[in-house]
Amino acid sequence: MNIDPEKSEVREETVDADSARWMSRRSYLTLLAGFAGSVAGWKWLKSTSKTDNTPWPLREAFQFNEKVSNAVYSPERLSPTFPESRIDPPRQNGIIGLQTAFDPVTWRLRVSGLRDGAPAEFSLAEIKAMPRTEVVTELRCIEGWSLVVKWAGVAMKDLVKLHPHREDAGFLGATTPDGEYYVGLDLPVALHPQTLLCYEMNDEPLSYPHGAPLRLAVPGAYGIKHLKRMGSMAFAAERPPDYWAERGYDYYSAQ
C-alpha cells in the first residue's frame, strides 16, 4: 500500500506565537472549567436530599436500572444450577428478625392480598403438602461472596396456582413474625420459577439461624431478599417496605 493513512492525518499550520499562546490558554480554561464542574457536580450529588438513605439522583438511577432490567427480564432465565457435590458449607450472615422469642408450635404463615380477599393461614405441614421443588444454586450476597446451596420447598408460583393473588398485585412483601426484618419483591421476581418458600436447606430441615421454620429463597435476587423466619406475606399493588432498601440499597436487587 502506498498511502499511509497516518500521514494524511498530519496537518500543520504556522501561526504567530501570541495566537498559539491564546489558543493554548483557551483549551486549558476549558479543561479547568470541566474539572471545576466535575468537583461541583460531585459536591452537589453529595448534598442532594436523600430518598431512603441514598442521594435522590442515585435513587433515580436505581429506578432507571430497574426499568431497564424489567424491560429485558425473562422468568425463563434461571440461576445456574450445580451438582450436589458442589454444595458449600452454609454461612450465617444475618440475625435481624431472629432475636425475638417465637413459638414454632403455633407458628402459621399468614398470606394476604389473595384474590378471595380474606387472608389465609398455613401450618408447616400444610405447606409441606404442596408440590415440592428442589434447586441447587448460588446464594449471592450483596457483599460479594457466594455459596452453592440446596434449597427445598414450595415454589411461589405453585402456591399462587393454588391460592391466586389479587389481580392488581405488582409486588410481594414478606416480614418476620416480629416485623423487624421485611423485604419487598417485584412480582415477576417473586414468581420466578426458582423462588421458594423454603423449609429444607442442604437436605436438612431448616435450622433456626437459617430461618426455621420457613424462609424465602430467591435465587434470582441478592441474599438480602432471602428473608428468614417468615411470619407473613402479602401480595400488594404498591411497593411494600424493604429493610435494606430503606438503608440505601437498591430495592429491586434482582439479578
Binding site: 504556522t14 506565537a17 438513605n53
Partner: protein, 244 residues
C-alpha cells in the same frame, strides 16, 4: 522531546495537529468517570475483600490493608458504593463506546491499533524508556508501546463492562457469567482489570512526565509545536515509510 521553543527572532510557531477534539473530550471525560468507578468499586470491594497476592494461605500482599481503608474512609459504605457504581456505569460505558465508535468511523484507529511490527518495536521502546537503548525509534502519533497499551486499555475497559454485567446480572445475563467462568471468576477478573487500570494510570503519568510538556499540552489543545524545519529529523516526516 523536540524543541518547542520558537526561534528567538521569529514570532511564529508551527503547530502540528495531533489529537482531534473528540478524542480529547473522551479522554478527559473518562478520567473523572473511571475515578468514580474505581472509588465506588473500592467501597463495594471492602465488604468482601478476599483477594491477595501470594501462594495458598501465604500472603505477600493483601488487598487491602486496614490502614489503607481507614486512611481513605472506605469502611461501611457498601450501599453508597453500589449506588454510585450502578449510576456512573452508564456514563463510563457510553463514553467508552462513543470513543470506540469515533475511532472506527474517523479512521483514527489506524494511529492506535498495533501493527505487525509494533510487537517487535515495543521491545525497543521499552529498552529506550529504561535508558538501555540510546536511540528512539521513529514513530507516528503513537509509538509501538503506546499502540499496544492504548489498545489494551480499551480491551480492558470492554472487559470491565462485560465482567461487571456478569456479576451485576448473573441470572438474567447468566450466559455471559457462564462464558466468563462463573460468578466468582467474573468477579476475580473484574477486580484484576481494575488493578490493571491503576497500574496503567501510574505508568501513564510517569510516561507523560517523561514525554514532556509539548506532548501533554497536545492532549489538551490538540496540537503540538513542531520542531523547526531545519532541525526536523528526516524520520519524523517519513516514519512508517517502510510500512506495507
Amino acid at each position: 522531546m523536540a524543541s518547542e521553543r520558537e526561534k528567538p527572532d521569529s514570532k511564529t510557531v508551527t503547530l502540528r495537529h495531533k489529537h482531534p477534539l473528540a478524542i480529547r473530550w473522551f479522554h478527559w471525560l473518562n478520567f473523572p468517570l473511571l475515578t468514580v468507578m474505581i472509588w465506588s468499586g473500592l467501597l463495594i470491594y471492602w465488604a468482601n475483600d478476599v483477594y491477595h497476592i501470594g501462594i495458598g494461605t501465604w500472603t505477600w500482599f493483601e488487598f487491602f490493608p486496614d490502614a489503607f481503608y481507614k486512611k481513605l474512609g472506605v469502611p461501611q459504605r457498601l450501599a453508597e458504593g453500589m449506588a454510585l457504581h450502578f449510576a456512573f456505569m452508564w456514563l463510563f460505558a457510553i463514553n467508552g463506546l462513543a470513543y470506540v465508535l469515533y475511532l472506527s468511523i474517523s479512521g483514527q484507529w489506524r494511529c492506535l491499533l498495533p501493527k505487525k511490527k509494533s510487537w517487535g518495536e515495543a521491545w525497543a521502546v521499552f529498552l529506550h524508556d529504561l535508558y538501555l537503548r540510546k536511540t528512539a525509534l521513529p514513530q507516528g502519533k503513537y509509538n509501538a508501546a503506546q499502540r499496544i497499551s492504548y489498545t489494551a486499555v480499551i480491551l480492558m475497559a470492554g472487559g470491565s463492562v462485560l465482567t461487571g454485567l456478569a456479576i451485576y446480572k448473573p441470572v438474567q445475563a447468566g450466559w455471559l457469567t457462564a462464558l466468563l467462568g462463573g460468578y466468582q471468576t467474573a468477579r476475580f477478573l473484574h477486580f484484576w482489570l481494575t488493578i490493571g487500570f491503576c497500574a496503567f494510570f501510574i505508568i501513564h503519568i510517569l510516561q507523560v512526565i517523561r514525554a514532556g510538556y509539548n506532548a501533554f499540552r497536545a492532549v489538551i489543545t490538540g496540537w503540538e509545536i513542531a520542531p523547526q524545519a531545519k532541525e526536523k529529523p528526516e524520520e519524523t516526516l517519513s516514519d512508517n515509510a517502510g510500512n506495507p
